[in-house]
Structures are given as C-alpha cells and as structure tokens.
Amino acid sequence: MAKGMREIKRSIKSKQNTKQITKAMEMVAAAKLRRAQEAAVAARPYTDKMKEVISSIASGSGSSKHPMLISRPIKKTGYLVITSDRGLAGGYNANILRKVLNTIKENHKSADEYAVFVIGRKGRDFFKRRNIALVEEITGLSDSPKFSDIKEIAAKAVQGYVDGTFDELHLAYNEFYNAITQVPTLKRLLPLGQIQSSGEKADYEYEPSAEEVLNVLLPKYAETLVFSALLEGKASEFGARMTAMGNATKNATKMIAELTLTYNRARQAAITQEIAEIVSGANAQQ
C-alpha cells in the first residue's frame, strides 16, 4: 500500500503547483483586465467625436456619395481578424477563428475571393496551418497597445478598400460584455453605410471643402474603429483568461481535495493492516 500512497502524494503536489500558477495567472489577468477596460473607455471620446463630425458633414452637405459610404458589388472581401498572442484564455481564440473560417467557407469558393489580415500570433499560426495566405500580420503587441502599433495594418486594410482591391472589409473580434461573457463578432467595417447623425447638428464651415475634409476623415475614422475593436479584444482576452484560469484553479482545488481523501484512506488502511499484522503476530507467539 505504501507505494500507492507515494504516487498519490506526488500527484497532489503536482496539482498544487499547477494551482499556484493558474491562481497567479488569474490575478494578473484581473489586474490587466481593469487596465484594458480603462483604455477602452479612454478611447471612446475620440471615436465619438469623430463620428459626430463625420455624420454632420455627411448629412449636411449632401456629399454622402463618398466611395467609403456607399456599397458596391462584391467581388472580393477583406477580413481583419483580431486574436491574441498567447493561449490559455479559454475559447477566446478558437471561437473567433472558427467563426471566421466558417464564414470564409460558406461565402467563398476560391482563395481569390477573400484577403485576410491578422493581428496576434494565434490567428497567424491558425491561418498558416490551413494554407490561407495572409496579406498582413502583426504579432507581439503589448498588453496596452498604442494607436501607432496598429496604424500600419489598419491603414493598409482601409487602403485596400479605397484602391478597390476588395469591395468590403469585415472586422472579426471578441466583443466585450463583461468579465465572463465575450462574444465573437464579425462586423462590416467598410463601406461605412449611412452614419446616423446623433442629436444636435452644427453648421460648420469646411476648409478647404466638405469633400476634402471627408476624404481625410473617413479613412481615419475606419482606422479608429479598428483600434477600438483591438482595445475591446484585449479586454475580452483578459476577461476570458481570468475566467479560464479561475475555473482551472477551482478544478485543481477539487482534485486536491479528492486526492487528499484517497490518500488519507490509504494511510488509514495501511495503519489498520499493520496493527492487524502485529496483533496476529503476537497471538501466534502465545
């Protein structure tokens, strides 16, 4: 029995180590989640303001014929997929990648009909394994990404639409609801469609002209939307990791409790057996 006991003890120790790690990861993710949420909130005024100005131009001057606002026949679709660099975040990456892959399979017959941009190592490896060519990839982003980090890939994706390389651009990311709920979302980024004007409308003067201002603003706005999706994706990543690691810690605790019980039983059995042996030995001598 002693041998079985040693094995159980070793197994308990290994589970305790795992639990320590998952617990630490949970706490780190919780701290980072708070920071990511703050960043997402801090980015909101910029996006809101830009939307406000664009909608007042588009609705005011009747120049809503801008190519970025109206849809055209779709021959090729662009996808910009936001994933994380690191795993151990539950279904965070798997969910969004599966969604994108299914959409691609459903809507496109040949590889000429879509172009994929990807942020994050997990997404890159996923598409590479499936021999899906990537137009552009970015990995190794920090946990609190700056706008300049993704400016290039966002600008390239938007430019691809403007040049007519593809006729619509979809953004795939995990939408953040709260720490335990993140929903993989596929959203059409371009064409922007009709932007709803919200509330008060100011009669602006435009310099040099409304069209020129719109030409500058619309690509910037699209890039900004990519950035806010990235920030939301980061918040989701930490939320998902926090939940996953919390569950792992809970499971480890449960396993340790069960194993401890088995260990104690085995110990008790060994003691009982020893006593029985001693007693029978003593009886035999009488």
């Binding site: 801090a42 100005v53 706008f147 602006y204 310099e207 201002v213």
Partner: protein, 133 residues
C-alpha cells in the same frame, strides 16, 4: 477677457483640457488664429505645434496631424498623437531629425522618402514645441 475651452484628444487619452484665450493652429489651408465666438469650422491640420494663449503666457503642444473642430466656445483637436511641451524628449527628437534628414538626402524609394519626410516634420514640430529651434 473671454475664454474658450481647448481639448486635445488622441485615441489613447485626453492630452489637454484647459480654458484659453486664443488658439493658433496650422491648418492644411494655412495658419488660423481662433478667438472665442469663432464661426463653427472643421479643417484637417498639418504636423505642427499648436499654440494656446492663456493671459500673457503661451503653451505649446506638438500635434501630429489630425483635425480641428471649432465651436462657439469650444475647440476640439483630434489627433493620432499629441505631446505636451513637458513630455518631449529633446535629444531624441534631435536625433530623429538628423536621421530623417540623412534618409532624405539619400533619396531611396518613394515610400521611404515619404516616411522620412513625415518623421522629419514630426521631429521639427517637437523641437519647436520644446522651444529648441
């Protein structure tokens, strides 16, 4: 003396928020001085320092592009990056300026030249903001 509220916002945070007497910016169509009760206006900006006048003092903010929205008593500048005078690393900006100038002198492919040109503008704007010309 009447004031207007100046806000400078980047995708990352609100860089600047203060009541000022006058704002001077460099728009794509030329330099603009904005006093309170200006007509509502929207224009893209060049990479250049923004001057905010409060009483007799001037504050400079390096704003890298973006655009300005003027309202009656409020001015909002939306830029991808903006730095206050105190946040600028002068020696780094000077190095960046030299590097960009070297690249421009070499005249490589068009994209590189464009990037170097932008980097040069940013560096000059930073140095001007920091008062080191």
């Amino acid at each position: 003396m009447s004031t207007l509220r100046l806000e400078i916002v980047t995708p990352e945070r609100k860089v600047y928020e203060k009541d000022v007497n006058m704002v001077v910016v460099k728009g794509v169509a030329g330099e603009l001085g904005i006093l309170p009760h200006h007509i509502p206006l929207v224009t893209p900006l060049k990479v250049a320092p923004v001057k905010a006048k409060i009483g007799n003092t001037n504050e400079f903010i390096a704003v890298h592009g973006g655009f300005i929205e003027v309202r009656k008593d409020k001015v909002v500048i939306l830029a991808e990056a903006a730095e206050l005078e105190s946040d600028i690393d002068v020696s780094r900006a000077r190095m960046a300026k030299e590097r960009a100038e070297r690249r421009l002198a070499q005249k490589q492919a068009d994209i590189n030249a464009h990037r170097a040109e932008m980097a040069l503008q940013r560096a000059i704007s930073r140095l001007e903001t920091a008062g080191d010309k």
